[in-house]
Symmetry: none
Subunit: 425 residues, 2 copies
């Protein structure tokens, strides 16, 4: 215990409780704690959920303590036999448990205020690990604990979020902040659309190497979802401005390398970026869909205030609907097939003309599982954007995956096509 | 490797990926796997989420393997430098990684089918741990692995749920079940639409008590999502027929208690139930949407083969579109407001007449956050179904929650309204 306090750089979070291992239970405490720890510059290396088993819990605490500077446990501080966190941590540290009279009094008073006698079981909650600082619980009976050991820190918090959160905010965060070193964290989110994850990664790898040599260095994580790539950039420095500057230089790198494939550098989702472009330019849009069945317009209207620029949409699932509602000539469908660039372009133009708005989007494809052919397999989708000018944007893609994924990916590409067309204006 | 296969009683689940440690990310894979493992009688002792750090990951795998019979890892099988699961497990087991030609061919073909060259990076995904069985990935490039070691089992699965779930269901569950014990599991899924979870729960609770006394007993879990309630019923017995019988009696209870609110007793989702009703009756449908922005039709067309009965949809976001496309009289909108039962009914009837089909659905509401008033607050939605007969189904609901939730819930209620109207025919 005479080891000098060391800087806390990283952490593991352990949630205790067999009930937390049910298929319908999410450990939201760890999400909350991760966010707060990141803010004060402590990186979370791993987190775990553990059943109420003393041997397993003690092993997991011991191993976490070997690896990291800070271990935070939530839960298992209740009064019953299967609340084992106190005992597990005490055994790992080789320390005893001591009943503290003032905590026992506080628990007893809490029951009396509700007109109840304290059950003898709750006495256990007044036990504190030798040498630990007890943390008062404003919203429940179980106190938390702050324990220092060999220059490392172990924090025990109650499981219920309404007890855990105020205890962390009021009694733990300040202490951790003081020990976390003074580093501040800067974070930027860049979204890229229109590339697969591996193609994006190939072009990002030389950048990663460059960023790692920045002062302070920039760390990157990449995540792909429904045809979009999300790149998270973080940097730490004593001065937030320095961390921000490193992140900004990395963002500039991505923009220079990916150009128009970069959808946003401020975290905005594609749907919002397109909405902002339409609003800024004073344009409205109408959408004509076939294979996506309304998903393109549904996503565009997920953005609050989208009625400013979304005029209407038509889902022309049948060929007759394409002709009736959008004026797509029946001969054009006969000649090229319903899934073709000329039909997509005619849908886009028909949508915008029928609605009397500036921009139109057309999308027609084969979502599967049926309907594919050798020339046009499942996943073939034609996308078009029409504006007042003559040059319509048209492309054909072939997408992998299930019906669900063809719909999702192709709707992303259609919204992205609108973004590209708007940027080209 | 000559150790005899042992019965698998418990497991740990490890999710790999720094991005999974973000404050806004939940590891849903472990929830899914926990549910499936519990069904085949394997208890989950702990689960972890680990950053992309080889040392930490290897330590956590080693320790999990010391404690439990089965370790399942998800994620970290991608093609990039921070995909470390293969290497970590190989190092823990003291085995090498071997490139498998047929996997490389499959990955290359997958790219070629999309008209793309395989990035050299993806070659890494063809590496398999020595002695492991590769598990084919129907929905992505990364194969999974099944590895036996000292009588224990390690399973590596891809991170994206749409790849992980079918791989587990098709290639892993059966092998695990064969090793997990003798009891057989019967399972039934009942879907209920149109009630809140707590109201459903109130009526279900006396049933739970009854089912617990069955031989074999039936266990129930309830899950509410986007306005639907999913009730999972399971029973275990040496003979599958006995378990099935218990489940069927419980299903009969639910049907007797909930009547038309029961959407399906065979696991079919609402969208498919409605589709089957339309197809069976030889009817087609057209949809007119406002607040849901295309989501009703998009959900109806999530069902393969829905082009048999979905004719078209119109998203009439503006009042002019309601008049132009659906023939809703402008005076009707002036008199009652765009969000009103008469307008919803006129939209439903207009949709079916314009399309020349039998059934029409109309939905108009205030998804928020703007647009609400005292008389019609955010969340007010009018829903109508029209058929050839005179009696249109019309109702108004007030839904809580964000824009996203109002869209989702009200689209469920609109599709359910169509179900009820079809059943009444």
């Amino acid at each position: 215990m005479s080891t000098p306090a060391r800087r806390l750089a990283n952490a593991e979070i352990i949630a205790v409780g067999t009930e937390m291992l049910r298929a319908d239970r999410t450990d939201t405490n760890s999400l909350y704690l991760t966010g707060r720890l990141n803010e004060i510059g402590i990186e979370v290396l791993a987190k775990a959920v553990v059943a109420d088993r003393l041997d397993v819990l003690a092993a997991i605490v011991r191993q976490a303590l070997d690896r990291t500077d800070l271990v935070i446990l939530t839960g298992g501080l209740g009064p019953t036999d299967d609340d084992l966190t106190r005992a597990a941590v005490a055994s790992v540290l080789g320390r005893g448990l001591v009943e503290q009279g003032h905590i026992l009094d506080a628990i007893r008073t809490r029951f009396e205020q509700r007109g109840m006698r304290m059950p003898e079981l709750n006495r256990r909650q007044a036990q504190v690990i030798e040498g630990a600082v007890a943390l008062a619980n404003r919203a429940g009976t179980a106190p938390g604990m702050w324990v220092e050991h060999d220059g490392k820190v172990i924090v025990l918090l109650p499981g219920p979020p309404r007890e855990m959160r105020p205890m962390f905010d009021d009694l733990v965060e300040g202490r951790l902040g003081a020990r976390a070193g003074q580093e501040r964290l800067a974070r930027r989110t860049v979204r890229i659309v229109g590339l697969t994850e591996s193609h994006a990664e190939e072009r990002l790898q030389p950048m990663y190497a460059r960023w790692a040599a920045f002062t302070p260095p920039v760390a990157a994580t990449i995540l792909a979802a429904r045809g979009q790539i999300e790149l998270q950039l973080t940097a730490r420095a004593r001065e937030l401005a320095a961390a921000d500057r490193s992140c900004q230089t990395a963002v500039d790198d991505v923009v220079a390398g990916f150009g128009i494939d970069v959808c946003s550098t401020d975290g905005r989702e594609l749907e919002r970026v397109v909405g902002d472009l339409l609003r800024d330019r004073g344009l409205r849009v109408a959408v004509a869909e076939s294979c996506t069945g309304g998903l393109v317009l549904s996503r565009l209207t997920d953005v609050p205030g989208s009625s400013d620029y979304v005029e209407r949409g038509v889902v022309a699932y049948s060929n007759r609907a394409k002709t009736d509602l959008l004026g797509v000539p029946a001969e054009l469908i006969d000649e090229h097939g319903a899934v073709s660039e000329p039909v997509a372009a005619a849908m886009a133009d028909g949508a915008r003309r029928a609605a009397g708005v500036e921009m139109g989007v057309g999308i027609t494809g084969i979502a599967g599982p049926g309907g594919g052919s050798e020339a046009k397999p499942v996943g073939t989708v034609a996308i078009a954007v029409a504006g007042p000018g003559p040059a319509a944007f048209v492309r054909t893609v072939r997408l992998p995956g299930t019906r669900h994924h063809v719909k999702l990916f192709s709707s992303t590409l259609a919204i992205d096509a609108l973004r590209r067309a708007l940027l080209a204006r």
